[in-house]
Amino acid sequence: MKNSVVISIVDDDDIYRYSVLRTLKEEKLTKKILVFSDGEEALDFMLDNIANSQKLPDVIFLDINMPIMDGFQFMEEYVKIKPKVGKKITVYMISSSVNPVDIERSKSISEISDYIIKPIETEKLVAIIKEVEAAS
């Protein structure tokens, strides 16, 4: 089943969201893209669809600095609901922050696969999605 993975982008920067969406579209990688402008929106969606694992994302590209609920606060909540989630979700922290505090903190959270400093290159994006596809 190709093109079946669900990708979620959680970022408050609309130009960045637009860029990633456009790149994904150009690469014809996937059709199912969930876009949220902050952690709370993403969390609310996941709570609403927790029983419906097909709707839940396979991979989340999570920004750190966001209003209302930032990336780390989202992870705190996500860790709590993780046992109820019926599928493996890969989380990538993607931020323009080069602050070592942020990078160390991301590495200390085992649910986060990697910390990527923006901008994410198209090749890296493709590689991540191919990997998740292969795993699912």
């Binding site: 130009i15 600095n65 209003p67 209302i68 930032d70 323009s96 922050s97 080069v98």
Partner: protein, 430 residues
């Protein structure tokens, strides 16, 4: 708070000099007193030895007379001892003693003089004639004289010891007084020189730490808030290059313009914050809180009218503040406009301004009954740049960042307490 450099140096030099002088004076006085004690010990030693010598002389005389000998070696020994005995006596009597002791020792030496003379005479007679001439009455005579001499010498010795003990007591007292004076000097200097010095250092250290903190904040803010739009511009230009669709090109160009405008705003905010932190242009004047609030209400009259807000105040406890007028106006304007912007649609907005005097510092409380902020989540971000906590179209995340920069540049602190859907209270310690 900051001491002038010259004044600082003089104080420091005074401090060092007094410490050195105090220590040297203590040392000198202590050394002098120790030498006095040494002298006492020496005298006691000689006086004690006199008793031994007098006994020795009488022993030699007795030996010579009993043995009826003219042994040259024995006579020679007697001569040596007697010489030593005489010299020591001269030495002891020639010592000049201080006031209360001179009279009593004079008297004692007067009373011992006949015994001394008698011993020396007997000795010289023995030396002249050998043991033969005085055989009969000599033993009892010399023994009697010697006993008298010994008894008086014992009194002298005790008197010397008494004097030495007094000297020791005096030394102890002097050392105690000197220690107290030294402690007092150091204490006074600590209070007037070291303490202000440490206070200044602490103050400057705290200021440096806060500046460092702000600079590091600033670096991260710059990194995040400037990198993002630049990256976005990059990708937008990249997309413009790749598309031939005119309409799409135009849409992308609009996005570029928006991004540029945001970048411009961010840069202005950062530059403003920098100029606030350098704190060059600030002029301090006496300001009435009430005047500033009146001015702020005039500035924001449109928003106040629109929201029907009720604004109350109580500046009775601390009506006046010495501050930079522009900063205080900006602080009031930011806090009031925030309170109005993030009002709850369920109730008429109420904003209360209150000043209090605590620990000699003026505290300003600005409380509202607005939307409130989730402090558990947002406490660390509240005063950051481009941080917004509400999905509000006017939320830009610049106001509180500037407010904090202004307050901290003047050495103050701003904190907030808030309950979601109850309201927020900002506390400023000037």
């Amino acid at each position: 708070m900051t001491l002038k450099k010259g004044k600082h140096e003089i104080r420091y030099i005074v401090f060092i000099i007094t410490v050195v002088v105090t220590i040297s004076a203590n040392l000198a006085i202590f050394q002098y007193n120790l030498s006095l004690q040494d002298r006492d010990a020496e005298i006691i030693n000689i006086a004690g030895r006199q008793r031994m010598l007098s006994q020795n002389i009488s022993k030699q005389i007795l030996l010579i007379s009993y043995a009826n000998s003219d042994s040259i070696s024995q006579l020679k020994l007697l001569g040596t001892i007697t010489k030593e005995f005489t010299a020591a006596h001269k030495m002891l009597t020639s010592i000049q003693l201080p006031a209360p002791y001179d009279a009593s020792f004079d008297k004692l030496y007067q009373s011992i003089a006949p015994h001394f003379n008698s011993i020396v005479n007997t000795s010289s007679k023995t030396l002249q004639h050998g043991g033969t001439k005085f055989k009969k009455n000599l033993p009892s005579e010399i023994v009697k004289v010697d006993q008298k001499f010994l008894a008086t010498m014992e009194i002298i010795l005790r008197e010397y010891q008494h004097k030495a003990e007094n000297t020791l007591k005096r030394t102890k007292r002097i050392v105690l007084i000197l220690s107290l004076i030294s402690i007092l000097i150091l204490l006074v200097e600590s209070i007037f020189i070291v303490l202000p010095f440490v206070k200044t250092l602490n103050y400057q250290n705290a200021k440096l730490m806060s500046t460092n903190h702000r600079l590091s904040d600033f670096a991260h803010i710059a990194s995040h808030n400037l990198r993002s739009p630049v990256m976005n511009l990059n990708s937008l230009i990249h997309f413009i290059d790749r598309t031939d669709d005119k309409a799409e090109k135009e849409a992308l160009k609009t996005k570029v313009k928006t991004t540029l405008a945001n970048l411009n705003n961010t840069m202005n905010a950062l530059l403003n914050a920098l100029s606030i932190q350098s704190n060059e242009s600030s002029t301090i004047e006496e300001l009435y809180f009430e005047d500033i609030l009146t001015f702020t209400k005039e500035t924001l009259s449109a928003q106040i009218l629109k929201s029907d807000a009720i604004i109350t105040m109580n500046f009775a406890e601390a009506p006046i503040l010495k501050y930079d007028r522009l900063y205080l106006e900006s602080i009031f304007q930011n806090l009031l406009s925030n309170a109005l912007k993030y009002r709850s649609s369920d109730r008429i907005p109420e904003v209360h301004f209150l000043t209090k005097m605590k620990n000699k510092k003026i505290h300003l409380y600005v409380s509202d009954n607005g939307l409130g902020i989730n402090m558990k989540r947002n406490e660390s971000k509240l005063f950051g740049l481009n941080k917004v906590f509400h999905k509000h179209p006017e939320a830009k995340g610049v106001g509180l960042f500037m407010t904090r920069a202004q307050i901290e540049s003047m050495g103050g602190i701003i904190t907030a307490e808030s309950t979601v859907d109850k309201g927020t209270t900002f506390k400023i310690i000037f």
